[in-house]
């Protein structure tokens, strides 16, 4: 099936045929009109008008003026006019068409002295006399109106040309739009997919179109569905594994404390170490579960009004409590009264992960600065640390799960883990955006932007 092939072929072909046809029709129509005017619209009067003009010019400007007048007239009129002297030569020296010669010769003979319209124009009374004594006859050659004369006079030809250009332009505009609209949709869907939204489909937006592009759209949708299914099952597997890991971990926690209890409640360094690692593992599993739940679209998203100020304050306080052993602190440097619609748990985990991450990387003795403000009627929260920052090439990837940005310390600490991946997912689900940048004066700065009121969430992603 080559529907599109035929569409393009026919559109170009038809548009060419159309253009040529319209040009021909317009030209011949005009030709007809001119001939009809010459024949019907009182040719005598027209002739007399021109004659008067010529006589006036001959009287005032002589031969030279008459030549200029005739040149202008010829340029304007489709019908050729000749000014013939007594010898039958044209004033501008143009050769006479043979049929006109024949006519003139016939009229000069006594046989042709009567009847015909052009004849009276040849009478001596119609002569144009110049001061030098020469006299001329004004002779129109109606047979001389032809296609070349019409095409050579743009003023005559402008309107049909314009109409044709406009019509064929419209046709081509429609064709281009028709061809490119689905391509634009495909492109948008591809971009959305690259951005992580696998729920995009193109075919429903094409309105029953059936051609090569529609085939491509079908294939695209098929691919998108397959990838979505793969992603979902991968996330579900991850979720299932995490869930199953919880049970042995729960037993481990109880066994550990049971052992401690049997030791008489005494806590050795080793016990504490096991407890700490268990808690880390537990946290990781929790993060995996949270991420898989968000990515696979299972679970529900609440829609409540969340007070951002209170949320940030509590998180900063909690984070300071967690890192109390160090001389690092988180502070709110700028605040604004703002409320956003969304899921408080998801928003909490988003901000919590970003602040926690910053607190982990900021250098000892420095602070993590949290600033909230309204910009372009959206909430903008910036979290900046005074750590080493990351290379520009890794700025986008920092939101990928378990990405390692490269330095040794990072490898030891297990990379960025899942925190920022969770934060990004949660922010995206709230119709916001999150970006990382190195601050001008060192350190990493994460910027989160969220719609302030009635944040529209993508439907279809379920969560």
């Amino acid at each position: 099936m080559h529907r599109l092939y035929w569409k393009i072929f026919l559109a170009f072909w038809l548009s060419l045929v159309f253009f040529v046809t319209v040009t021909l029709v317009a030209a011949s129509y005009y030709l007809q009109q001119t001939r009809a005017r010459a024949a019907d619209v009182n040719p005598h009067q027209r002739h007399m008008t021109l004659l008067r003009e010529a006589r006036g010019i001959a009287g005032s400007e002589g031969i030279a003026g008459l030549e200029r007048w005739l040149t202008r007239l010829d340029r304007r009129e489709v019908t050729p006019y000749y000014l013939l002297d007594e010898q039958g030569r044209d004033l501008l020296g143009r050769p006479l068409p043979p049929d006109l010669e024949i006519r003139l010769a016939r009229q000069r003979s006594p046989m042709g002295q009567m009847g015909q319209m052009s004849d009276m124009m040849m009478r001596p009374a119609m002569a144009i006399r110049v001061a030098s004594g020469r006299s001329f006859q004004l002779v129109p050659d109606f047979q001389g109106v032809n296609m070349w004369r019409v095409l050579g006079r743009p003023r005559v030809f402008a309107l049909p040309l314009l109409v044709t250009a406009l019509l064929s332009g419209l046709l081509c505009y429609w064709l281009a739009r028709y061809l490119l609209r689905p391509i634009k949709e495909l492109r948008e869907a591809t971009q959305a997919m690259a951005g992580g939204d696998f729920a995009q489909r193109v075919v429903p937006g094409l309105g029953g179109r059936r051609d090569e592009i529609a085939d491509l759209a079908h294939d695209f949708d098929h691919m998108a569905a397959r990838i979505e299914q793969l992603m979902t099952s991968q996330m579900q597997l991850l979720g299932d594994i995490s869930h199953e890991l919880r049970s042995p971990l729960a037993r481990l926690v109880v066994a550990l404390e049971l052992a401690q209890q049997k030791q008489g409640g005494e806590s050795t360094a080793e016990f504490e170490r096991i407890a700490l690692e268990t808690e880390r593992m537990n946290e990781l599993i929790g993060q995996l579960l949270a991420l898989s739940r968000m990515e696979s679209g299972t679970g529900k998203i609440a829609n409540e009004t969340v007070d951002v100020n209170a949320l940030l304050e509590r998180l900063v306080e909690n984070s300071n409590f967690e890192i109390a052993t160090d001389d690092r602190r988180a502070v709110i440097v700028e605040t604004v009264p703002a409320a956003i619609d969304g899921d408080p748990a998801l928003l909490t985990s988003a901000f919590e992960n970003v602040i926690r991450n910053a607190a982990r990387y900021t250098a000892p003795g420095t602070t993590v600065e949290v600033a909230a403000r309204i910009r372009e009627s959206r909430l903008e929260v910036r979290v900046r640390d005074h750590g080493p920052g990351i290379t520009a090439a890794m700025l986008d990837r920092v939101f990928d799960p378990f990405v390692r940005v490269g330095d040794a310390r990072d490898r030891a600490s297990g990379g960025y883990g899942l925190g920022l991946a969770i934060a990004r997912r949660a922010i995206l689900l709230h119709g916001g955006e999150i970006a990382a940048a190195n601050h001008l004066h060192g350190g990493l700065e994460i910027t989160i932007r969220l719609p302030l009121t009635a944040g529209r969430r993508r439907s279809g992603s379920g969560l």
Binding site: A250, V253, V254, L258, Q261, G286, R293, G299, A345, T348
Partner: protein, 232 residues
């Protein structure tokens, strides 16, 4: 010695938890499915039930729903960490508190003790003085830990009762959630903690608005709650 009901389908976990709890001077009955849990809870032999949500035959939430039809036995539910829906539904159904799994036995014991303290009538000395609080149409008997609305008793869990009593004692004052969590639930308010909110919404449902049509327990956004004094 307090008698506890422990319902969790993980038998090995139950065994270890029982050992731990028995060492802490509790008598523990362990069951491993929902139906057995409901039967035990109804028997009246236990002072408190610890219910896991994920159980065969009958989920912990279903057990709780059935149990609350007839009993105000203090119930602590174990939820999967990160699954806030379960904890919210559980509190809505009348659970007294929740603990995310995997739970540290130490924390579990602390929660159980706090719940038992609330449930027993032996309130701290300073609170024993007023035996009867009357607020408009509401009568609270602190001795019997019972509540009457327009003379008819309103059944409520011990946590709901404690919360109502605390709010009523401070009627007209805005009490922040941190204080309520500390005083009523006996624990620190967590980062995303719906405990107090859910108990308050249960109280609202059971007590309805004030006779004047005004809300009985007002939410002060970002701060906490206030028992509204009727102006009539």
């Amino acid at each position: 010695m307090h008698s506890l009901l422990l319902a969790d389908d993980d038998t090995e976990l139950c065994d270890m938890l029982r050992q731990y709890l028995e060492a802490e001077d509790f008598a523990v009955t362990a069951v491993h499915d929902g139906e057995a849990a409901l039967a035990e809870a109804r028997s009246g032999r236990h002072e408190l039930a610890v219910l896991d949500i994920m159980m065969p035959r009958m989920s912990g939430l279903d057990v709780l729903r059935e149990l609350r039809r007839e009993s105000q036995l203090p119930v602590l539910i174990l939820t999967a960490r990160g699954d806030d829906v379960d904890s919210i539904v559980g509190l809505e159904l009348g659970a007294d508190d929740y603990l995310p799994k995997p739970a540290s036995p130490r924390v579990l014991v602390a929660r159980i003790r706090a719940l038992l303290r609330r449930a027993t009538a032996s309130v701290p000395a300073e609170a024993t003085a007023p035996v009867h609080i009357t607020l408009g149409d509401l009568d609270i008997h602190t001795g019997a830990r019972s509540v009457e609305l327009n003379g008819s008793p309103v059944p409520m869990t011990s946590t709901e009762y404690s919360l109502l009593e605390y709010l009523a004692r401070g009627a007209g004052r805005v009490i922040d959630k941190e204080e309520l969590s500390q005083q009523v639930l006996g624990r620190k308010l967590e980062a995303y903690d719906r405990g107090i909110d859910m108990h308050v919404s249960n109280l609202r449902r059971k007590l309805g608005p004030l006779p004047g049509g005004e809300e009985r327990i007002k939410t002060v956004r970002g701060v906490g709650y206030q028992y509204v004094l009727d102006e009539d």
